[in-house]
């Protein structure tokens, strides 16, 4: 069945992030001046007081830690059949945090301790879109 959940639509500033995922690469931006990564994509550094446009795209490890999450027991539209599912924030080893779903694990609190190591799963949900999901790291 065709994927019928909300899909992202890239803007010029975020295109590389989504194109990278399509190639199964996690691409995020780094401020050359601060020497730090940031997320979500924008063509200037959002770290405090910086605003430098001296930024680059880097391919990162796709490894991180489970920072925080909820286990959603309700879901709207096509999500209803997925309940319960995990809406999480992961902290990448490179520093930034991003929202994701934690997959390939039974969604129970005891299976999802905070700071658990996680790794990216490239979910090719349509021909055009790949979402960055995460699973417990091997």
């Amino acid at each position: 069945m065709a994927y019928n959940k909300a899909l992202p639509q890239a803007t010029p500033e975020t295109q590389e992030f989504w194109d990278g995922l399509k190639r199964h690469e996690l691409r995020i931006q780094k401020c050359v001046d601060c020497d730090k990564f940031y997320f979500f994509p924008r063509p200037f550094c959002p770290l405090e007081g910086c605003s430098s446009s001296n930024v680059t795209w880097e391919t990162v490890s796709g490894k991180g830690k489970l920072h925080t999450y909820v286990i959603s027991h309700r879901g709207f539209g096509p999500w209803a059949e997925d309940t319960p599912y995990v809406i999480a924030v992961v902290e990448l080893d490179e520093g930034p945090r991003m929202m994701t779903n934690i997959v390939n694990v039974e969604p129970e609190p005891e299976n999802l301790p905070a700071d658990m190591p996680v790794e990216i799963v490239y979910a090719d949900v349509t021909d055009e879109v790949t979402l960055p999901h995460f699973q417990p790291a091997n």
Partner: protein, 384 residues
């Protein structure tokens, strides 16, 4: 440059009213709820629509409201950033009146949250920041987003589901004393923990209601503040800010950083400190939200919020009464509840709170999010 303290105690709330009823009101549209509350608040002040020369509202645009009321004010504020918008309007009105832009400001709220009569939709488009970086993961509204930081607070501080359930229990005790409250039956911690799972660690009874209703305020400057039927409720301090929209971009999942700032600004303007605050209306969209507020505003240390609520300080008979109308959890929650939080502070400071009235009350703090831990506003109100 003027100092914020110069604006403290210069503008007062002299008219205030909620809609005649709150709860389930399928016979009234969103705009009519604004108008009903507006007319009642003006009546409370002994004024009419013709006296209004400043208008602030959130939800509909100021133009929708002025068209509906058929007025053309000299000052408008359409700051519409969520539940705390009305607290911001009060702060903005203080400056506008002091600047001479207008003399009589009407702030209105109305929402058909439950019945959805005459309301517009607002889903984020797929190319927005939320549409790209949160919507694809199945978030479906505040219970699945505002709740995301909680596990981190539990992990860092040992905060428990039982402690958060105590917040719902304490708030329900206040609702038992409010005949207008939607939920008035006593509840226990077990009732909360056994209620339907919504988004762990949130159960149904950790979540606010969804209702219909409205409220409105009338503000004037100190030169006229004592010319009205009711004693003035003074605006002593205010703070506001705007940070992130995405819950995943909250900088510290254990701290409501925006509230740290707005609390300091409000205290500074009022020239007050924590021990001066006798009553609190801390917006309770979910049980953890007033817990984060209590810590961020500095009433307890980070991590002490859960135990503090469990000790009963905020419940009837406690030494720091909070959410005394029964809160968004048990009284009413239209969607942007901030107006009702202000309204309860005004009601208490006027001595009109009936069975739940607090004795010797002179100060109250109102605090609300505008968005989820992002935009934030704080007010300090007083009656002396």
């Amino acid at each position: 440059m003027p100092n914020s303290q110069d604006l403290s105690h210069k503008v007062a709330i002299v008219g205030a009213s909620e809609t005649a009823e709150v709860g389930n009101l399928p016979d009234r549209s969103m705009l009519q709820l604004h108008a009903e509350a507006a007319l009642l608040a003006l009546e409370d002040a002994g004024l009419t629509v013709d006296d209004v020369d400043g208008v602030a509202t959130a939800g509909p645009t100021p133009a929708q409201l002025t068209e509906y009321l058929n007025i053309m004010p000299h000052w408008i504020d359409g700051t519409s950033v969520g539940g705390g918008s009305f607290l911001m309007h009060v702060g903005h009105a203080v400056a506008a009146i002091q600047a001479g832009y207008c003399n009589t400001v009407l702030v209105t709220h109305g929402e058909s949250g439950r019945s959805q009569v005459g309301v517009g939709g607002r889903a984020p488009g797929p190319a927005t920041i939320a549409g790209q970086f949160e919507a694809p993961y199945g978030v479906w509204g505040p219970p699945s987003m505002f709740s995301v930081p909680i596990v981190r607070h539990m992990h860092e501080y040992g905060t428990t589901e039982e402690q958060m359930a105590e917040i719902a229990v304490a708030t329900r005790k206040w609702a038992e004393l409010n005949p207008r409250a939607m939920m008035r039956d006593p509840i226990t911690v077990d009732d909360v923990l056994n209620s339907r799972m919504i988004a762990w660690p949130l159960h149904l009874l950790n979540c606010c209601l969804v209702t219909d209703g409205g409220g409105a305020l009338v503000l004037v400057g100190e030169d006229r503040a004592n010319d009205f039927p009711k004693d003035p409720v003074w605006v002593l301090g205010r703070g506001e800010t705007s940070a992130h929209t995405l819950i995943s971009q909250m900088k510290d999942m254990t701290e409501w950083t925006a509230a740290v700032q707005t609390g300091k600004d409000a205290f500074e303007m009022a020239g007050m400190t924590h021990s001066d605050i006798q009553h609190a209306m801390f917006y309770d969209a979910f049980t953890h939200v007033p817990m984060y507020a209590l810590e961020a505003l500095g009433f307890v240390k980070p991590g002490e919020g859960g135990p503090y609520f469990a000790e009963g300080h905020t419940a009837p008979g406690g030494d720091f009464p909070m959410n005394t109308n029964g809160g968004g959890l048990s009284y009413t929650h239209t969607g942007m509840y901030g107006m009702f939080a202000i309204m309860e502070s005004v009601t208490q400071l006027r001595g009109e709170a009936g069975e739940r009235q607090l004795d010797d009350l002179h100060t109250s703090m109102v605090h609300a999010p505008a968005g989820m831990f992002s935009g934030t506003s704080t007010l300090i109100l007083g009656n002396e």
